[in-house]
């Protein structure tokens, strides 16, 4: 059986029906506190999922990625965790050391106040969980939640919305500058049974405001789990959001995510992402430039080894004129890993003077690793500049010799050159402690890879 044929079985109706049944069984839970509009969102979402089910590799958007392992596994939604010293210890490596005053921590999808720290926030700024915000800032939540990453957009965002119970909420009112980064940490701590969480994040940075948000995903322990995350970032006119996303799920995890940023006039978004973990990862990023003069930069790195598979699908939607987008994605692929990058750029009619650049560089360290890269330009305006470029290949022999001629061993030279692919992306990040932490991670990881690679 071909992988595609095997994959089609993933669409088997029982996987789909399982989630619908689960939804129905839990629909009564918490129905009392849930506002009607949110109930409608959830019901619409499960109806949508019931219609489309899990994707198959026959679908263009999924032709490199089989989600069969996810569809085939029976996941349970984990109960609320008991905060413990063990959890606090487990989360420590993922914190931002010197910049760690504002953080919201979620374990298996549940907010854990005891592990969070919401000290020293400027007046009017909220960092916390959505469930609480439904009490306080219900109108802001209602105005934005599920409006951008719409449940109809795909089966996974539909599932996320259907099972939306809680999530992170960051609200920065007009004109406020949050100087220290806000961290949102989603930890998964599976036990014997496979568990799933559907983390949801809503970030609203109002007109002229400014904030940096670090979203981290990580796993504790050995068990199998699935994270199905959706993040919406709404950036008002003249506002700026610096978003960081670090995916360090455990090696047995599945990670599916959608990030949707929506920008107003003259706003700035930097979205930095580093994907290191998970056996299977799929991340869809949609950035809509919905006001003139906006600037959006996506700066991503994926490091894969062993049997890892990571698929990044980005869409930059130039909906208004005079916007600029830059997209830099680097991949380092070792072992039998497979990296996929699909970069779609849409320039809507009337979006004149669009300036869009995209690059995707893949370093393929092993003969069995594979990279697929495809740009997808859809341009409906005439006065635009769109450029894209992709590279794919092994280490540059000339560079290797250059480094060796300076006294570095072949191993050291290989790891330095691989590190360069990561450092190029990390170098654009502004939060120094985070950059240093990632730099150490990337270096340690690539040193290991290059040593392994050198074993005959």
């Amino acid at each position: 059986m071909t992988p595609e044929a095997a994959d089609v079985l993933a669409a088997a109706p029982d996987a789909r029906a399982r989630y619908v049944r689960e939804f129905e069984a839990s629909a009564g839970n918490g129905a009392g506190q849930t506002p009607a509009w949110l109930r409608a969102v959830r019901e619409g979402a499960i109806a949508r999922f019931a219609e489309v089910g899990f994707p198959t590799m026959r679908q263009e958007e999924w032709r490199f990625t089989s989600v069969r392992p996810i569809a085939d596994t029976v996941f349970r939604r984990a109960d609320e965790p008991v905060p413990s010293g063990a959890l606090a210890t487990a989360m420590a490596p993922y914190l931002l050391c010197e910049a760690d005053r504002h953080r919201a921590v979620f374990v298996n999808g549940h907010f854990v106040a005891a592990l969070s720290s919401l000290a020293g926030l400027p007046e009017g700024v909220t960092v916390g969980n959505l469930a609480a915000a439904l009490g306080g800032e219900a109108d802001v939540v209602q105005q934005h939640l599920a409006r951008y990453a719409r449940p109809a957009a795909g089966p996974f965002s539909a599932l996320n919305a259907a099972f939306l119970l809680d999530g992170a909420f960051v609200f920065v009112p007009e004109g406020v500058d949050v100087e220290e980064p806000v961290q949102v940490l989603f930890l998964s701590s599976p036990s014997r049974e496979p568990i799933v969480s559907h983390p949801r994040t809503l970030v609203v940075v109002e007109r002229g405001a400014r904030a940096s948000i670090v979203e981290s995903y990580a796993g504790v322990g050995e068990g199998v789990y699935w994270t199905n995350a959706v993040t919406e970032v709404v950036v008002g006119d003249g506002a700026r959001a610096d978003c960081y996303r670090v995916q360090r799920e455990s090696g047995t995890a599945y990670h599916v995510a959608t990030t949707h940023t929506h920008q107003g006039r003259d706003s700035v978004v930097w979205f930095h992402l580093v994907a290191l973990g998970a056996a299977l990862a799929r991340h869809d990023i949609v950035s809509v430039l919905d006001g003139s003069g906006g600037l959006c930069t996506l700066n991503g790195l994926y490091l894969l080894g062993g049997q890892q598979h990571a698929d990044h699908h980005t869409t930059i939607d130039h909906a208004q004129p005079h916007c600029e987008s830059h997209e830099y994605f680097n991949g380092v692929l070792d072992g039998q890993s497979h990296g996929v990058f699909n970069g779609r750029i849409i320039v809507r009619p009337g979006a004149q003077r669009t300036d869009a650049k995209q690059t995707n560089n893949n370093l393929v360290l092993s003969g069995e690793a594979r990279a697929d890269s495809q740009p997808q330009l859809e341009i409906y305006a005439d006065d635009v500049r769109c450029t894209h470029g992709a590279t794919l290949g092994p280490l540059d022999e000339r560079a290797l010799f250059y480094l060796r001629s300076r006294g570095m061993s072949a191993d050291a030279a290989r790891s330095l050159l691989s590190y360069g692919f990561g450092a190029e992306i990390l170098g654009r990040m502004d939060i120094a402690p985070l950059r240093a932490q990632l730099d150490r991670l990337v270096r340690a990881r690539l040193q290991r890879e290059s040593r392994r690679e050198n074993v005959p």
């Binding site: 560089n361 540059d396 250059y402 060796r404 006294g407 570095m408 072949a410 590190y419 450092a423 170098g427």
Partner: protein, 251 residues
């Protein structure tokens, strides 16, 4: 320090070097001149250990040891340095990080402690001062987007930091403006010591006004056809390489 005997080398069956003989003693500066494509860079690369070239005949002794049996990194650790005619760009690795990695690789070999970033900055500052440059290129990726002249200066900076015993400069003067040329020459002269030696590959007598060679060799068709003192460079400037080739045929 360096004894090259009847060196033959080439690429995939094509012979480029056809029997080179050259002896370099400590304290000496040798200039190698010769027309395009005569094999100057090939000689330099073979000495540095470039894997593209195969040595088919002959021997090279460096400080009495078989140079050709060493890996490129071992040659560098033993004090050999090649300033590349075409320096290579290294994606994402800053010049400072690269220099520190190289210096530490060599220090480790010498049994010295590795330098942390702070100590390294001290060393770097001192070398920059010797060469008379600022640190503006230190936080950019190695050679990435550097101008031709900046790349050449950067080779000299690496030489200054790594303090080799035998430096081979492959057309480090090409593409330099007159001030940069003087700085490079000054750097070479500053690093000159009775225990070191330098081989400069150049097309121009100009450089030799600033770096006075003890010997000048003319390489044509993969062989050293003529050797002499620094006057030979002047003669070449006046008469061109054809004169050497013609002379060789008559002799």
């Amino acid at each position: 320090m360096l004894e090259i005997r009847n060196l033959h080398a080439g690429v995939g069956g094509t012979e480029i070097l056809r029997g080179i003989d050259l002896t370099v003693r400590t304290g000496e500066v040798h200039a190698i001149m010769g027309p395009n494509g005569s094999g100057k860079s090939t000689l330099a690369q073979v000495l540095a250990g470039h894997p593209t070239f195969t040595v088919t005949e002959g021997s090279v002794l460096y400080e009495g040891r078989d140079l050709l049996g060493m890996d490129p990194e071992e040659r560098a650790q033993q004090g050999l340095f090649l300033a590349f005619q075409y320096p290579v760009e290294i994606r994402g690795v800053t010049n400072a990080y690269f220099l520190r990695s190289a210096l530490n690789a060599i220090r480790k070999h010498r049994g010295e402690d590795e330098l942390d970033p702070v100590d390294f900055l001290g060393v770097l500052d001192e070398k920059l001062k010797v060469i008379g440059w600022d640190d503006s290129l230190m936080n950019r990726p190695v050679n990435d987007g550097f101008s031709g002249g900046e790349k050449k200066r950067n080779e000299i900076l690496q030489m200054a930091v790594l303090e080799p015993k035998l430096a081979i400069l492959d057309e480090t003067d090409s593409g330099l403006d007159i001030d940069a040329l003087k700085t490079v020459a000054h750097a070479v002269n500053t690093l000159r010591a009775p225990t070191n030696a330098t081989v400069v590959v150049t097309h121009y007598q100009r450089l030799l006004n600033y770096i006075t060679p003890d010997y000048v060799h003319v390489l044509t068709g993969g062989r050293i056809e003529k050797s002499g003192g620094k006057e030979l460079a002047w003669e070449l400037e006046a008469r061109g390489y054809d004169w050497v080739a013609a002379g060789a045929v008559i002799a």
